[in-house]
């Protein structure tokens, strides 16, 4: 799989480290979160069969994090964008 780093362009997947689902926000008020809420934040992620926004680190390249929207069945990558940017609308 070739992954398009927003800064370096397409590179082989072995250069990257996977960071799981993107856009999972840290709780706004941590002291107000109960056990079930922490379990959901720590452990529960979407298990999408289809388009999935996820985090990648270009470990063997520029060593910068970014997000990509990838299809988990075809592995097509529709978009790669810097952290903090809004997820593009895909499909």
């Amino acid at each position: 799989m070739l992954i398009p780093c927003p800064w370096c362009g397409e590179r082989e997947e072995t250069e990257f480290h996977y960071g799981g689902q993107a856009h999972v926000a840290y709780p706004d008020d941590p002291s107000a979160v109960d056990d079930a809420g922490w379990a959901a934040y720590l452990f529960v992620r979407d298990n999408s069969k289809g388009w999935f926004a996820e985090r990648w680190l270009h470990r063997a390249g520029c060593q910068r994090w970014f997000n990509a929207v990838r299809h988990t069945v075809t592995y097509e990558i529709a978009a790669a964008y810097p952290p903090g940017a809004t997820r593009p609308v895909i499909g």
Binding site: G20, R45, T72
Partner: protein, 410 residues
Amino acid sequence: MSGWQVTPRLPDHPNFLWAEAEPKPAYDVVVVGAGGHGLATAYYLAKEHGITNVAVVERGWLGGGNMARNTTIIRSNYLWDESAGIYEHALKLWEGLEAELDCSIAFSQRGVLNLAHSLGDVREGRRRVNANQLNGIDAQWLGPEDVQKLAPIIDISTDVRYPVLGATYQPRAGIAKHDWVAWGYARAAHALGVDLIQGCEVTGLRREGERVVGVDTARGPIRAGRVALAAAGHSSVLLSTLGIRLPLQSYPLQALVSELLDQVLDTVVMSNAVHVYVSQAHKGELVMGAGIDSYVGYGQRGSFSVIEHQMAAAVELFPIFARAHVLRTWGGIVDVSPDASPIVGLTPYAGLYVNCGWGTGGFKATPGVGSVFADTIAHDRPHPLAAPFTMERFATGALIDEHGAAAVAH
């Protein structure tokens, strides 16, 4: 006309092991998924609990998922008491399974070695041996020379990247022929009255209030007193329709076989550190498992780099493998939980039970989880051996971390 006239014809089909059923409007229990776990669950529901008005519905074909893709290793040398309970229960059932099902499953207790390549591995391995022995599980610690006695083709020289510093050894571990296990359970369940329905995808769960009362399928709705999910990663997809999010991620896990070779290895060898586990099938293929891809995926293939990495490690450990040819590689989708332990038991909805999250190690548990899941469904409470494996443990913190014993990097 004179002389013999020969009409070419094929030989008769051998007797079918089970008959395909049409879905009835309602059952006492509908089991979703006709893999090993679903079939075993149906069998024990009928055999042990007298619940025979049961359907197993399968979107593909019977035993066609990871039951047909795994590397068939059976062992119970996990670290924690909870795991020892369920995996050792399974191993004891494996030991009587050919008689129980009245068919051969080519169960071969040839032992398993889990290699240690670093001081950390050695400490962890010794700790696991001690834990196993306290749980009554046969486990030994072996030094490099004893490892080589059991598997003479292993290179135990010290000047390699991953030297063999020792191994845990479970003599009662082994392998079985996975297809035959699925077919054996299917035949025995069918003989007890269970309907096996293939090509029937479950598309949704029917509920009335807080109770699940059936399933929607590609061939119409089926009412059910109880619904038992044994659909691996797709269990999380079905549960999400009820607003239940399971802490599961699905990844491709790869395996490969070589061409047929003379017998060179009569035990199972696993290495956690270099992600290779190998046994030699009865026919002679070397059966090798690799690691999982690092990223979520449902494509039943997997990264080439994973196979490349695994082959490099295998050839270093077993130098004679360098002359073997890969016959084929394949991938299955494994549903992995955060603590590398399964989720088995009740759900927030009455009449709905779930069994999933077995990750890379579900095959070995087949008889054990079938029996405890059936008992859980029949009595509507967790079987004592299933009780620790609830989905609530992620909130209470009572995790059962088996990343070390699961033997595949998660």
